[in-house]
Assembly symmetry: D2
Homo-oligomer: 280 residues x 4
Amino acid sequence: MNFSVKTELAYRVAKATPFVFNVQAQQMSGQTIVSERLRIDPELPTETWTMPESGNRYVRLIAPSGGFKLTYHANVRLDHPTEDPARVNEIPPGSLPLSVLTHVYPSRYCQSDRLERFTQRTFGALPPGYQRVAEICNWIHDNVDYISGSSDAQTSAYDTVSQRAGVCRDFAHLGITLCRVLGIPARYVSAYAWRLEPPDFHAVFEAFLHGPAGPGWYMFDPTRMAAPEGIVRIGVGRDAAEVAFCTQFGEMEAEKPEVAISGPADAPPSTTQAVRTQDA
Amino acid sequence: MNFSVKTELAYRVAKATPFVFNVQAQQMSGQTIVSERLRIDPELPTETWTMPESGNRYVRLIAPSGGFKLTYHANVRLDHPTEDPARVNEIPPGSLPLSVLTHVYPSRYCQSDRLERFTQRTFGALPPGYQRVAEICNWIHDNVDYISGSSDAQTSAYDTVSQRAGVCRDFAHLGITLCRVLGIPARYVSAYAWRLEPPDFHAVFEAFLHGPAGPGWYMFDPTRMAAPEGIVRIGVGRDAAEVAFCTQFGEMEAEKPEVAISGPADAPPSTTQAVRTQDA
Amino acid sequence: MNFSVKTELAYRVAKATPFVFNVQAQQMSGQTIVSERLRIDPELPTETWTMPESGNRYVRLIAPSGGFKLTYHANVRLDHPTEDPARVNEIPPGSLPLSVLTHVYPSRYCQSDRLERFTQRTFGALPPGYQRVAEICNWIHDNVDYISGSSDAQTSAYDTVSQRAGVCRDFAHLGITLCRVLGIPARYVSAYAWRLEPPDFHAVFEAFLHGPAGPGWYMFDPTRMAAPEGIVRIGVGRDAAEVAFCTQFGEMEAEKPEVAISGPADAPPSTTQAVRTQDA
Amino acid sequence: MNFSVKTELAYRVAKATPFVFNVQAQQMSGQTIVSERLRIDPELPTETWTMPESGNRYVRLIAPSGGFKLTYHANVRLDHPTEDPARVNEIPPGSLPLSVLTHVYPSRYCQSDRLERFTQRTFGALPPGYQRVAEICNWIHDNVDYISGSSDAQTSAYDTVSQRAGVCRDFAHLGITLCRVLGIPARYVSAYAWRLEPPDFHAVFEAFLHGPAGPGWYMFDPTRMAAPEGIVRIGVGRDAAEVAFCTQFGEMEAEKPEVAISGPADAPPSTTQAVRTQDA
């Protein structure tokens, strides 16, 4: 399926200030950039870099005093394989590729070391597999209220599990944390998300499981607010600390980001299959 | 200088349990493995992997029910360049290699997002450079008590800055956190540390600065307990969450690790120069 | 029923150190001190005080350098009324005596302000009354593991609700917190507890409800480890911060407290009725 | 000196909702209510209560669906004794009245148990007395930024000591906490505060010390924003959890409170003497 994504970001600074953006869609198998355009207005020199271990694409610029606007527009084709969830299993820690072990460790917003007992009590006895991660998402969906403004930049999974309110970022953090306690590698994904209302940057997570085609990352969205087959991946990382769409070094004023994504008009309802993403 | 390092780790498990170790010295420019031997007793199949972005070396084994012992012995030559601290500067965020930006973000034990104001108030006005990081280390040394048992696996820099007690791990976390607030990339290093008394695994940190030979990582030890030129690097990561010397997946009993390092008998006193480490 | 309670506390100090003890049974309607003896060995001058708003009895002494032992022995008759739980109701906040409002506010270990949503989601829809508080106790009993050493002096209800392990103190704190969110005044009680195995100081909590005889405090023990009709009340307070059995001002070494309580040999099984305590 | 204080509070509720207010000036030696008037508009039945151990005055009403306004106006004469700070000393814990011990314990927002080492390191070596508490206030004033909106209802002294920003409430909490670690009883005071700009409810704290006239409570304002001799005390408590000016049980909308206080036009500059308050 083809998607058109767009974002427009506007900032004002009082003196020259470095900005790093991570808003471009990743280039990876299953996610093809048909065309894209990144424009800075007024025009500014930029520097770009793609992180080898994540595929995240970064753009840096030094904004001079005054205002500037970044516009990104891309046509992206997604053809991630979908699989029967019943055939997707967990991988015992003794068999996990050592390269994904990093995603079992606790991180800033996903303190899996503090939620051992809760997780084991609630999910430890469920049969391992895709369905267990889906049950984690169900639990989050059923027990945490999605409320804009109920959390802030310091809110972590340890808070969300008690406070029971948050936004997509918090939902993803909690899902990641619960997976990690169970020994399932999990990571944070920032994305353009089709059918998300109102349109905005979205956050979901991926768990590392073993499907018919071998081990790989599978996408989960505990908010149930977007279509799994319409997630255009921007950044992946241990948690939100690593995939901000904008990092600036100094004071600034920002306008509310504008984000849009459109897909095929005649598309069927969202898939209930397991969606497998593939690293570049 | 040549160092002989050794560690002996012993565990008992009740049923087959996967273990991942990160105890081998890194192989990198300035740190040469002259010889090494890793032995598991009783003999067990192992799998090894070196993480490309860190150089960390991992060994995995599945311990069967009963006990086992891992012994690692290495002869390591260290010849990290040392430089005049006065010639080592900070790098403005607009000029940092994008590949090290990851080490400016907050992590599990280094919540730099929560210590902004404290850091800016205490260190923000100091002239940028190696000396500012040294002042951070001095502050930690002077304001935090080194007390075995005063912290635990959940203690983070946010606690240490208030509770004012910890061990090498906590000292390193606090140093990393304060650097990150100032925009200085910083990372955690686990090591064999010469002249550390009593001998044990040690933790220090590295900050990314710009010296006479260009940008690179410089080693700092806020505990002042070891010789900077005698730090045999084992693992680097965002913080201790990523460089445990042992990660196991299941219940186990561990004996206290034995760690030893010896250096040249006739070595001069520890250096006061800046020690620069070099990625592989 | 008559109970014999005893405790023996031994300390060593290097220099003169003030101690305040709160180990004596309260004197109140329903809890009669038939006889009691408090001995300090070696003999030391003491000062005593009973707090009007709580009935807590305090003894202060200045321990000289060296060791001392406090022994307390009392014969106590308990005849708290027991009532049919079905006839004990909650009191709407508009009708609560203003004097108990204090026990609806958050306190050090009972941060009811942070567990609103969790509490409302889990218990908000249950019919108000004694039974709702009993359901809170059931939830704690079923979802939190009683594990000695799993918590420390800084552990609060906010931790226990996520970490799911604790001791009697943590169970009481969590019960208090959940009640307060629902607008039910609740307070911490330290006690000698009959049938508690092994014998030790115990912690339970009281909720302010309305029974057949009017408004009053009702006792709850989410650990289910002691007999409700055999709780000899020592101290009440907002939480454990206010009812330590020993507060000292300086360094000391303590031996493990010895605590004993014995009741009638031929007593029937523990009551399942609501036990109502009565302030002095 | 005579002061005229006034507050106007307006609320809207969708259904009958209990409110408890604590906005009336305390009646105590040194603070005389010359005249006062509390009006609810539209008129509603109210219930009042003065807490014996604090002197706090509470008014409860059940607001029917719709809006209401509370207006409080009082003329208050303050003639608290002022004393030479050099003659005001700390009281060793062995000599403190047992009735104030409660104010040495940690509370919701003043976790003195977690700031031992920081406090001892920073203030432990200073000579005991009024001046040491003044140094605590100086430290807070010099190291914490007063910034509206930088803290919220969950912010505690443990946060403020690291985050270094807050409002009067946070300044008071930190002062209380540091005093308690040193064994100095301290409590939270809500007040109308003369010369505070802009006018608002204010928070200060009191420490229990020993002056020329014996032991008593002395007022401290680490914000330095108001005149110590012009603090009209409303409520005292362990911390802000106990002295909200409004506690409601249900949803409501509030207008921003209006607060005003005026004093003698020709008054001299604010006192630098120790201001001693006296319980009723």
